[in-house]
Amino acid sequence: MGKTVLIVDDSNTMRKIVARSLRQAGIDFDAILEAGDGLEALEVLGANQVDVVLSDINMPNMTGLEFLKAKSEDDAIKDIPVIMISTETGADIIDEAKSYGAKGAIKKPFTPDLINDTLGPLL
């Protein structure tokens, strides 16, 4: 069975760019799912088998950190790995993200190689 990735970002443009970067990085997913904020992401995770999540931090309705916290409290989805992709990669924010289970962080702007280096070991 192929792998499925969920891209969470309030920017439609950035979701497209992340999806394109995954293809350019040579990471082949059978399905690429999208969500516009943390709330939508929780709904997608509840309804689909997802192998890895790439999530922005600054989003309306539910931020990336709030999403991580909510996910960590749900036994059904808490073990799905999450990589943060954001302009916000200060040590405080990344430490908080990791305390909620984030497996890593990628700073925008990013290259396909950086995506591959960060995501590859999780697949």
Partner: protein, 151 residues
């Protein structure tokens, strides 16, 4: 002027990495005409120890060219995709410049990005803040990245 080098380096990195466009910075200046005409502007606010605004202003044709390159698909009119793309550019610029303004990462917060466009408009930030404008060019296009900060 402070932050000129940071603006130049951040803008060049973002455009080359994410849009595959090599942009050349010009000489920084202080923009005196507050009116922007036939343009699209992406904006991110800065709050906390340092307050202000990061903005990028592109003439309509340049905004279309940048969005086309960004998305990898032809964009022919100023629509939601263009505003989203230009807002995201401002967001990335804000993130890069925040690192220069606040190396600790905890004393300055960024707002959600926004974008506006129109035939003629002005954008007001802080009356007592320093405004730094850096022009950029690529091919036949030009645009401006501005940082306005007040500690």
């Amino acid at each position: 002027m402070k932050y000129v080098q940071d603006i130049s380096a951040s803008t060049q990195e973002i455009f080359s990495t994410m849009i595959m466009l090599d942009v050349a910075p010009g000489e920084a200046f202080r923009r005196t005409d507050s009116h922007l005409k036939n343009s699209v502007s992406g904006i991110v606010g800065l709050a906390g120890e340092t307050k202000g605004m990061l903005s990028i202003h592109l003439p309509l044709e340049t905004a279309l060219a940048v969005t086309t390159a960004f998305l990898g698909m032809e964009v022919e009119e100023i629509d939601e995709d263009v505003c989203d793309a230009i807002g995201e550019l401002a967001n990335m610029l804000g993130g890069c410049l925040k690192a220069a303004i606040d190396p600790s990462g905890s004393k300055v917060q960024l707002s959600m990005p926004s974008a506006i466009h129109g035939e003629e408009y002005t954008i007001d930030c802080l009356a007592d803040a320093d405004l730094i404008s850096v022009p950029f060019t690529f091919a036949e296009h030009s645009f401006i990245v501005e940082l306005q900060v007040s500690s």
